[in-house]
Each structure stands twice: as C-alpha cells, then as structure tokens.
C-alpha cells in the first residue's frame, strides 16, 4: 500500500548508479475503461514543478526549454515500473547522464565549471 502524495510525490530520486536525479515533481495516472486508474509515470522536470505553482509560468518555461534542443519543452517521464523504493529515496533503473534531468548540470559543467582551474 502506498499513498501517492505522501509516499511518492516530492521524494528524492536516485539513478542506477546511486547519483541524485532530482525529485519526483509530478505523478501521471492512466485512466482505463472499466478498470481503476493506474500509476503510469512519474515526471521529473521544472515544467511540472512550475505547473504546481502557476500554469502560465510552466508554459513560459516550456516555450523557453523547447528552444534548447530536440526532445525538450516537455516534462521528462519515467515509467513507474522502472522505479523501486530504496529508502530514503526512489531508485530508477536509468543513468541520469542520459536523461534531460541533468541537462542544466551538464551544460554548467561543460561551459563554465570545467574551465575554472582546479575544479
């Protein structure tokens, strides 16, 4: 038994290597005919997070994010069946480096931090 709001939303996410991979910013349920709704995906994305405060802010950010490359401008979704609970966080069976979750981190590292001696 799991409470979606208390036990899933806003929880820390780790990747397959144990690196931090953001927090679960949103939950996506699949509505099915004649069957109860099913937890399909979790979302890790500033767009989802901002939408919890203001749809307008989220739209604005998504428009900006779309310009950064193909596949951007929409929340990053992880299928629920790729997540396992490993206290005190959730673990996904993906490498965060291959996802948009770390896009800003990677950009900062490559463009700025790695150019500072001794970093």
């Amino acid at each position: 038994m799991m409470h979606l709001f208390a036990d899933v939303l806003d929880e820390q996410l780790h990747d397959v290597n144990g690196n931090k991979a953001g927090r679960i910013d949103g939950i996506v349920l699949e509505l099915r005919d004649d069957k109860p709704p099913r937890l399909a995906y979790v979302e890790v994305s500033p767009i989802t997070l901002l939408a919890r405060f203001s749809q307008r802010l989220a739209h604005w950010f998504a428009r900006f994010d779309r310009r950064l490359g193909p596949g951007r401008g929409a929340p990053f979704r992880i299928p629920w069946n790729r997540l396992t609970r490993e206290d005190p966080a959730f673990k996904m069976d993906l490498d965060v480096e291959g996802t948009p979750i770390n896009a800003f981190e990677d950009w900062l590292r490559e463009r700025i931090v790695d150019h500072i001696p001794g970093s």
């Binding site: 709001f5 939303l9 806003d10 929880e11 820390q12 996410l13 690196n19 931090k20 991979a21 953001g22 927090r23 910013d25 997070l49 919890r52 405060f53 206290d87 005190p88 800003f104 981190e105 900062l108 590292r109 700025i112 931090v113 790695d114 500072i116 001794g118 970093s119």
Partner: protein, 406 residues
C-alpha cells in the same frame, strides 16, 4: 577513542563557530545600552539554538534526511517554497552583514575602506568553498575562531560584578528606552538562533555519515558547543557593560569594537578583536553560503556536497557562488555592516516560526524519527522561544524604526 575525538572536535568547532558579527555586535549593544540587564536574552537564545542544533543532528542521524530534504518530502513543493524564499531573503542579508564584518576587520587592520575589500573578500570566501573540503571549512576556520575565547579572558580580567551578571539572567522590564530595549533583545535572539547554524549542522551530519549511534554524542556537542558559545556572547555583553555602559556610550560603529579588549590587553587587545571579528565573520560567511546552497540543492534533489568537486555538483557550486556575489554588492556599495546586522538579526527573529514550526512537526513524526521523536521539553522550549522572538520582533521593529532607537 575515535568518537571521543569527534566529540571534542565537534564541541570546539561549535564554540569557534558561534560568535560572528551578529552575536558580537548585538551583545555589545546590549551591554552598552542596558548593562547586565539583557543577559537573559543571550541565555534564552542559546538554550533555543542548542535544542535546534540537537534536533537537526538527531534528524539526520536517525532519518538520514537533512532538514530541507525532509521538509520538501513531508510538506510538498508548494509549502517548501515558503521557508525557502524567506530563508534565502533573510539569510542573504545576514551573509552580506558577515562579508561586511570581514571587510570591517580588514578596514580596522589596514585603514583601507570596506568597499575596496569587497571583491578580495568575495574571492577569498569563494576560493575556500570552491577548492577545499567540508572538514577543512568546519574544523579549520572554527579552530581559528577559538581566538574569540579572548573575550571571556578579557571579561574575567576586568573583574565584573558577578552578582549583577547573575541578576541579569532573570528577564526584567526596562527602566528606560523601552522600545530600544526590546529591539536589542530581539536582535540578540535573532543573532543566537541563526537558522543557518542548524541547517549547516544537519547537512554536516549527513556528509559525515552519522547513524543512530551518534544520537548521544550529538546531544553532548549541541549542549556543550552552544553552551560555551553562549558563554562567549555573555562575555562580550559583560565587557560592553563595563566599558561603555557607565559613560552612556552606545555602540553605533564597528570602529568601537576594539575598545572591548584594549582595557584588558592593551594594544594586543585591538588585534585580538580584529582577528576575532575577521575570522568569525569569514567562518560564518562560509557556513551561511553553504547552508543556503544546501537549502536550494536539497530542495530540488540536486547533487550536493562540499566534499564533491565543483565539477560533480555544478548547480550546487553555482548557487553559493551567485549568493556570495549578490551579498558582496552590499559591501561594494558601502552599506554599513552594523546597520545591516541590526536589521538582519531582527528579521531573522521575526521569521523564525517559518522554518521552526514545520521542523517541529517533522521532529514529532515517527515515520522519520521512530522512537527518537521530540520530547515535551524540546517541543516546548523551541516553540515558546521562537514564538516570543517573533512576536517581540513584530512589535519592536516598527517601534524602533518610528522611535529611532529612543
């Protein structure tokens, strides 16, 4: 044996890290304005911060969560935004005051004005954060901060009236300057109960991989470290009460601070105050920068840690860099660090419930703390003192602004 060493080091670093521009100037203003009458405010603030530090260490050791981590998880992103924004706003002012404090110490030492020092101080603080590890910052700077013990030695050398000091332990109503009395009391509380101290402490406990076996040691470090730190603040108040109060001299400029130790030590006293102010404020600068970066990074679930290289936690490193740059602007623009300290300490007191109340709820949640949840004493003391501080702040800040301190 390893734990005994850790205990000793923990206490020493807590003592060394306690005094900073807030506690030094507010204690000096309290002693100068009201003699020993405001000793109670330091005592109350110290008891409250000792409880909060103990709670944050226990939270980390038992639940493996830092405070921001648990807050976002337990209360959700929408709620977490409130303490995040309030803490960032208020602590940025405190950070600016600390950077100003380092600049003030350098001004006293060299005669070169604070705005000239703004950029070198910024670079020094940034380089220490960027290139060194958590233990270097926590242990190194705090060990150097033990120079602040000179205040206690100085106070003893001036033979204070110990009975009068003891009398100040009990809160009394002011005989004169009522609005200023409460404003100074609030500033002292704000300076003692600095949220960055316990945010920093909980992240440190996670960085050092504490587990439940550390609960007892954590209690000893919090009680003794904060206790000795509060004792040093009282020493500053006692010195100011002896030196400034009889002549009705108010502490309005940081240039007056060296007078705290020159009667006891002569010319070396001047350098002891300069060193104390400079080192203590630099230490606080590093701790506040890290605390705020922890608050942001842990809230968003980013990679964080002072023991990682900046390349491994680029967003975390960028956060403290931007905060340092923003806070340095105050010194660069020539904002008086003492004025900034007065305002930021009072605002810290006013905003205490925003961070403290949700933290108390967490500390009573068995899902996180299991059998180590708060007892009635921790809950009662922290709730009562932070409420008193906030109410006094909300009442006294407008009175102080209208009355101009009269």
């Amino acid at each position: 044996m390893k734990k005994v060493l850790q205990l000793a080091l923990g206490i020493v670093t807590s003592v060394g890290g306690f005094l900073e521009i807030g506690s030094i100037t507010t204690a000096a203003q309290a002693g100068a304005g009201f003699g020993y009458q405001l000793v109670w405010s330091i005592l109350l603030g110290t008891i409250c911060i000792a409880f909060l530090v103990e709670m944050s260490g226990r939270c980390a050791a038992v639940s493996k969560h830092t405070i921001p981590d648990a807050m976002r998880e337990r209360f959700g992103a929408r709620f977490y935004a409130i303490p995040l924004i309030v803490m960032l706003g208020v602590s940025l002012l405190v950070l600016a005051a600390e950077l100003g404090g380092v600049g003030a110490a350098l001004h006293l030492a060299t005669g070169i004005s604070i705005p000239v020092w703004a950029v070198p101080v910024l670079l020094l603080a940034w380089a220490l954060l960027w290139y060194t590890s958590f233990s270097v910052i926590e242990n190194g700077v705090s060990l150097l901060g033990l120079v602040t013990v000179a205040f206690a030695v100085g106070a003893v050398k001036l033979h204070p009236d110990y009975a009068a000091v003891a009398h100040g332990v009990l809160p009394t109503l002011p005989h004169e300057k009522a609005s200023n009395y409460w404003f100074v009391a609030v500033s002292v509380l704000g300076a003692s109960i600095s949220p960055y101290l316990y945010y920093f402490y909980s992240s440190g406990a996670i960085e050092e991989k504490w587990d439940e076996s550390y609960v007892g040691m954590n209690r000893a470090i919090a009680a003794m470290g904060m206790g000795f730190g509060g004792f040093l603040s009282i020493a500053v108040l006692v010195l100011a009460a002896i030196i400034f109060h009889p002549g009705n001299i108010e502490v309005k400029h940081y240039q007056q601070l060296p007078m705290l130790l020159t009667p006891a030590f002569g010319r070396p006293g001047f350098w002891l105050v300069v060193a104390s102010l400079g080192i203590a404020c630099l230490g606080a600068t590093l701790e506040i920068s890290l605390s705020l970066a922890y608050l942001v990074a842990q809230g968003f679930g980013w990679e964080w840690g002072e023991d990682l290289s900046p390349s491994d936690d680029a967003r975390f490193s960028l956060t403290y860099t931007l905060l340092l740059v923003a806070a340095s602007l105050f010194a660069l623009l020539g904002v008086d660090p003492l004025k900034l300290t007065e305002i930021s300490m009072a605002l810290t007191a006013a905003s205490l419930p925003v961070g403290v109340f949700p933290f108390l709820i967490l500390m009573n949640d068995r899902e996180y703390l299991h059998e180590h949840v708060n007892g009635w004493l921790s809950n009662g003391v922290v709730l009562l003192v932070s409420l008193i501080a906030a109410v006094l702040a909300i009442v006294s800040i407008p009175l102080e602004l209208i009355g101009g301190g009269g």
